[in-house]
């Protein structure tokens, strides 16, 4: 299964792109591992994962219908 991930803020400085596709992941824990392998700098980066515009704190099962986003700490205002 291919998961499409959209990326914001300073995390784009690490990935070099604001959208990536990750193959063969079924939950958010796996996604984090796969991202860390592809982009080692992500290991020390602070970010939250949003699934369908809601931040998830626990491991969450993913389907390719979900919208997945990597969100560094907010700094609006």
């Amino acid at each position: 299964m291919q998961i499409n991930v959209i990326i914001f803020g300073q995390i784009v400085d690490i990935t070099g792109t604001s959208a990536i596709a990750v193959e063969d992941v079924t939950d958010t824990n796996q996604l984090v591992e796969r991202l860390a392998t592809a982009y080692p700098a992500l290991k020390s980066a602070k970010y939250a994962i949003a699934v369908d515009k809601k931040i998830v704190k626990e491991n969450t099962v993913l389907s390719n219908n979900n919208t997945i986003a990597l969100l560094p700490p907010f700094s609006g205002g």
Binding site: I6, F8, G9, Q10, A50, K53, A69, L71, P72, P73, F74, S75, G76, G77
Partner: protein, 147 residues
């Protein structure tokens, strides 16, 4: 929430003082309002290392931000006796000295308007997926962090 109209809060570039005046002026027909509370965020020319911040470039995850703002708005209306509430946030480049956030709450009595305004500002800073990139004088940059 699905059938409620989601309001846009984003505007390109700085929030002009004249826009704020128009927004205030429009409330003169709402004669049950006794108090308005307004918060304005202005870009500071902080020194980072030995360089000044010239501007902040704001980006957002718009769909999520608008959905979250709608949730905050609904919470404020159920918690406080508000007559109305308006929020505007800049996207793109806002120079030092310019305004990037405008929160405007109105109520019959001052306590409600003041508390709702303050709480909305805190929630925007903590919960809205918006990122500020501080552009320094020499065209280097640093990502802003909210305290």
């Amino acid at each position: 929430m699905a059938d409620k109209k989601i309001k846009n809060i984003f505007m390109q570039g700085p929030i002009p003082a004249g826009f704020i005046a128009d927004s205030i002026q429009k409330h003169s027909t709402k004669t049950d309002i006794g108090a308005h509370s307004i918060f304005l965020g202005q870009v500071r020319d902080d020194i980072i290392g030995d360089k000044k911040v010239a501007a902040i470039d704001y980006t957002t995850y718009e769909e999520m931000a608008l959905e979250k703002m709608q949730e905050i708005r609904e919470d404020m209306f159920s918690k406080y006796a508000l007559t109305c509430m308006h929020v505007y946030h800049s996207l793109g480049k806002v120079a030092a000295g310019e305004l990037s956030l405008f929160v405007f709450t109105s109520s019959k009595h001052r306590k409600m308007a003041i508390e709702a305004c303050e709480e909305t500002v805190e929630r925007i800073k903590a919960e809205l997926p918006v990122w500020g990139k501080e552009l320094l004088e020499d065209e280097s940059y640093q990502w802003k962090e909210n305290k």
